[in-house]
Amino acid sequence: MSAKKLLMGNEAFAHAALEAGVRVVAGYPGTPSSELIETIAKLHAEGKAHGVHVEWSTNEKAALELLAGASYAGARCLFTCKQVGLNVASDALMSLNYVGIKGGLVLFVADDPGPISSQTEQDTRRFAAFAKVPVLDPSTPEEGFAMTKAAFELSERFHTPVIVRPTTRINHASTFFEVSDETSARKIPEEGFERNPKWVIFPKRAFEAHGEINDRLQQMATLFSEEEPYVGFNAIKTRVNTYAVLHTEVDSENKTGARSDTGTGASGIQPALGIVAGGISAAYAHEALRLIQKRLQKNATVKPSESNLATSTNNASQLPPYKFLQIGTPYPFPEKLVASFVEGLTDVLVLEELDYILEDELFKLCGKRGISLRIHGKLDGSVKDRGENTVDSILTSLAKFIGLDEALVAPSVAGSSALDASHLPVRPPVLCPGCPHRGSFYAVKKALGKTPAVLCGDIGCYTLGNAMPLDAVDTCLCMGAGITMAQGFSVAEPQKKTVAFVGDSTFFASGLPGVVNAVYNGHNITLCVLDNATTAMTGSQPHPGTGQTLMGPQNKPVSIEAVLKACGVECVVHANPLNFAEAKQAAQTALDYQGVSAILFESPCIQLKKPDAPVRVDSAKCTGCKRCITEIGCPALVFNPSAGKRGQAGVDPSLCNGCGLCTQLCTFDALVVNKGGEGASHV
């Protein structure tokens, strides 16, 4: 052990898995999950994670299937992806749960409420229930650390894959952790993989296995109600008569999960209100309750509100008694524990993000046991039905639930009326200055001219090609969909050109079957592979086209051109997207071709390249026509209205990295590449 380190949630979970002896780690990048594998790769490269194999697989399905094999041999395995990545791996997961595993197999699936960087707000807890796989849901990075370790034990004990599902605010929150300096992967058991009919799924075996799954889910539900460490993830806190002692935070805390001791305060008022929270909403709720208390104290002199529950005590300046249950094991639902929690309660408020999983489970519980309880949450509008919760949104829901005057607990944002934020400049995400994708989109747009066309986009930085002025992405659905969707357009509207833009990593992840489909069925599409030699959006991860591996060795890159040709694509052209004339010519050739054609736009991601000197504006030549700005929308190009006769273009030297695309568009040669010049801001 060393001194405590500041770790981001995802870094901490990597340490937890290594400390649990994980041997094989595989996944596909996706925000907010990517840093976990990167951390393991870094620790491996530093020689601190002994015996581990870590890789970025081609896609999530490949990763999970690889891990299934390693697990059957007895290795502890970790899979990582973002929520939509589990869709890709779902074929493997559904069957794998029936077949079972040997070495502990944990799926780390990061959900993204908001969504902040995703195309859906799907809830992996719901997916877990659909797949009949247990899921753990941390409310803090520390809990996620403990859950990751516990998940391996649970997996091996019940021969089941186990999902750990943090959300963005846990993945990307940091706090201090004490972690082992070095770790060793648990050894593969001597017998290794043992042949057995159970590894081969057949309908008859599936029927038997389904029964085993149902049995083990029941056993796990009991475990989550009774046994450490699992029951500790479902902490009950009870606040009884707090009217006497204003400053008491929480009167009793019951972490054993046994029936909570509701204790008796001086006047022994038993709580009628319950709060049930999952994930980060539990942390927000603790914070909101503290804020409510603070603000009530501050406003204690203010006339008490006329609200229902609080006035029953004639004192609206204090919180009424309540019971608080955090559920860290949403599926299988810890029914026994929750049944004892709701005893004596009249109302429960459920706080969770994404779907209403806990709320559904409470309804089931009450129906099953004939419990009379009013359940408030997403379904009755007490809590927002989508997007992220915040301390503020939860505070509002809690205040209403408790019956407090909202004005008494609202944040005091003095002076906010004086500041109107609506006229502040908006900053939508844009392609970086010097991003080669800008040139690719521009060249294709120019080559198309006025030809009617549908431009299919895909998942990656290049989705940003839809922004003005490029305006070059008409669709974006899911990984690899652009290639196949283009074929649908070409069938439905053959009079239009159909173009599919795909990134290099996405091409390998799920673009290939679409290419084969196009060749096989003879579709007329032009495929533009935006090859920037990395998986850029998620933070520059390598992929098959780079040949770089996380284990160290540089393997032979898988050539996109060779793959396309092997698939039967006959028209394949190359271009440097930052050379406008060359790129436009290549686009023209490919677009004129009848059948499947492909343009490989090849230029490395600007994040991986040493910047060149910034472009210079020749003030003697710039007429202020703004063509450079309105054609390509580079963030480094600004307009300086006070320069020249009618204003002039300017280059922000702290942003420009000298890609030179703009210099090729200027009608007056007023933009000049600064060959050999010094970029003052690039140190």
Partner: protein, 197 residues
Amino acid sequence: MFNVLLAGVGGQGTVLAAKVLAQAAQSKGWKVRTAETIGMAQRGGTVLSHVRMGNQGEEVYSPLISAGEAQLIIAFEPAEAARAFSYAAPGATVITAKSSVQPVTAALSGGSYSAETVLAELKTAVEEMQGTLLVVEDESLCAQMKTRKVLNTLLLAYATANSALPLSLEELKEALAACVKPAFVDMNIAAVDLVAE
């Protein structure tokens, strides 16, 4: 609880600044949590880093700061200072770099936003809630340091030197030394000294 909100534009260095503050808080034995903007929003968008310190020994639950609860806002850009203002607690200190980063949308629409106007509005708003607005001459300071890469350290030093953080300059330097790459320690310490002078 001491809440610091760092507001900027992707790539300006808020993440490292948050790390440095977390390190300093940890050294004082406080509980601390930070949260970052990572992902698509980083590409030229608004980024916020939240730092929450339990400076009275209390537990920190949420990694995110609530509306009206930040005692200190450190903005790397005037418009981002104004945008983050709803986080400010009554009496908070707002520190902002003076020079603006114009969004690409401003160049397209032909009009840049006026940092002077935004700063004037911000001044009125801060005064109304009995707070303090400190505008940092970042251009001249960065010019003296010969790099804009120390902007984050300059702003942290400015906050510390003006007693807007529960830290001493020495504590800030120690945290910097623990957080930045060894090759850049001297440069960052020099940036603190420049502000402290």
